[in-house]
């Protein structure tokens, strides 16, 4: 398992954006939620990676955020998918399906 972890790091890295968009698509989340959701999956990531990636996604207008007061501590940024982001996710999902069917057919 750890072997696969090492070997397919590049593959996962490319798909991380897809994974984050998928997490954000479900509900508005803050960074802690995203990290917690991804932690048990192969896409487990860290703040150091996540913040730059989120800022890139926001710059590309796939996600947006609002400041929400939290019970304790300072306000947090809650991220949600934009319409453009939803379209992008749709596109990615379609392409993913295309890739998997391609693989299934290649084996025959």
């Amino acid at each position: 398992m750890s072997d696969a972890n090492e070997q397919f790091a590049g593959l996962r890295k490319g798909l991380l954006e897809f994974a984050i968009l998928t997490v954000v698509s479900g509900r508005t989340v803050y960074v802690g939620d995203i990290l917690a959701t991804l932690a048990p999956t192969p896409f487990a990531t860290q703040e150091g990676t996540l913040y730059p990636l989120l800022s890139k996604l926001r710059r590309e207008e796939y996600v947006d955020y609002q400041w929400v007061e939290s019970g304790q501590g300072p306000p947090r940024k809650y991220y949600q998918l934009t319409d453009k982001g939803a379209a992008r996710l749709e596109e990615l999902a379609a392409y993913w399906r295309h890739l998997t069917t391609t693989f299934e057919n290649l084996g025959r």
Binding site: V31, T45, Q46, E47, G48, T49, Y51, P52, L53, S55, K56, R58, R59, G73, P74, K77
Partner: protein, 374 residues
């Protein structure tokens, strides 16, 4: 027992043991470097600080108010390395430059203008030898005092011969730091951009006023200045290919030599002009009686133009090579005037004959002006 450092993370104070602070500082420096190209750098850094602050809060309680080194190292491990997520394909070249950096870049002598007092020679030498530029400045001043002015000449030659650090790589080479230390480079770029903007502005305004002032007088001796007029009015030429370090040293030396030569011609021209006007003779030579006064003046001007123009062209070429641009505006002419003024000042102080001539030429100019204004 450790010293405690209080820091401000997004507006809230946190107390860290000193090693914890050092670790955090190093982490944030690396983060800044990784994000150097990122347009949202400031915001991401704020987010990272906030995330670290949140994690710190998890370790603190009313009974515990200081973050230890171990806790900070755990926090930073949780945060993970900051990745640029910068423009696509930025990763590969950076990795490459990291590999090359281990041996360190070659250290070279450059003038560093962003910390210059006069032209950056001293700060460049200081950076090269890892010394405070002020020490070098002091040495130069002392040398000048002990050699009765010779030190200034050395400084002027160095000013021409040492290329100034224009690009971030050169800036880094001047300091001998690895030039993929992104943050330092960024700073250098910023500072240089600022400097270039400012100096370009001041140059332009200087050029304009200078041009206004001199245009009328230049009409009479414009052969040697025509090239300058077109040069200054032409749009900024596209930069030519970058020039190597050694070539720039040669170009700098030639620029200096040709500047001195053209300055000498200018001085000789002025001396000839004024000595003819005041004494009717040029260094003891008197024009034949049948040659009219105005024709001698015209001949002096034409001879000056003919002799000085080729050297002015060579000088201009040297400056163009030096600056990597095809035309350099009035900067080189201005330097010639400064050199001539310095020489005139020395002559005024040390050569009584020259002083006498200058006083007489002042009278000639004054009489000329009163003649035309009355």
């Amino acid at each position: 027992m450790e010293r405690v450092v209080t820091i401000n993370l997004n507006g809230n104070p946190y107390q860290l043991e000193e090693p914890a602070y050092d670790a955090l500082r190093a982490y944030m420096d690396r983060a800044q470097a990784a994000l150097a190209e990122n347009p949202d750098k400031a915001e991401i850094v704020r987010d990272l600080e906030q995330a670290i602050a949140d994690k710190c809060a998890g370790y603190l309680s009313p009974a515990k108010s200081v973050i230890s080194r171990d806790e900070m190292s755990r926090i930073l491990t949780e945060m993970g390395p900051v990745e640029g997520a910068a423009p696509e394909g930025a990763e590969a070249p950076r990795a490459e430059s990291f590999g090359g950096a281990s041996e360190g870049p070659r250290r070279r002598l450059y003038r560093i203008k962003d910390r210059a007092v006069v032209s950056g020679v001293c700060s460049g030498i200081g950076a090269y030898f890892d010394l405070d530029p002020n020490v070098i400045r002091l040495l130069f001043i002392l040398a000048t005092l002990f050699t009765s002015g010779f030190g200034i000449l050395v400084y002027i030659v160095l000013m021409f011969a040492i290329p100034s650090a224009h690009t971030s790589e050169e800036w880094a080479a001047a300091h001998g730091v690895p030039f993929n230390a992104q943050e330092i480079i960024d700073r250098a770029k910023r500072e240089y951009g600022k400097f270039a903007d400012d100096s370009a502005k001041s140059w332009r305004s200087e050029q304009r006023s200078w041009r206004r002032e001199w245009r009328d007088q230049q009409r009479s001796w414009n052969t040697s200045f025509r090239s300058w007029e077109t040069g200054a009015n032409a749009p900024a030429a596209a930069p030519t290919k970058p020039v190597g370090y050694a070539e720039r040293i040669f170009a700098g030396l030639f620029a200096f030599i040709f500047s001195v030569i053209t300055a000498a011609f200018l001085i000789a021209f002025l001396i000839a002009l004024f000595s003819y006007l005041t004494t009717g003779a040029i260094l003891g030579w008197e024009a034949p009686n049948d040659v009219p006064y105005w024709l001698v003046l015209l001949i002096i001007c034409i001879v000056y133009g003919a002799v000085a123009t080729p050297f002015a062209a060579l000088r201009r070429t040297s400056y163009a090579t030096l600056n990597g641009r095809r035309d350099v505006g009035a900067a080189d002419d201005f330097i010639v005037l400064v050199l001539a003024a310095v020489a005139a000042w020395f002559a005024w102080v040390y050569v009584p004959e020259a002083r006498e001539l200058m006083e007489q030429s002042y009278i000639v100019v004054r009489d000329f002006i009163t003649h035309w204004t009355n």
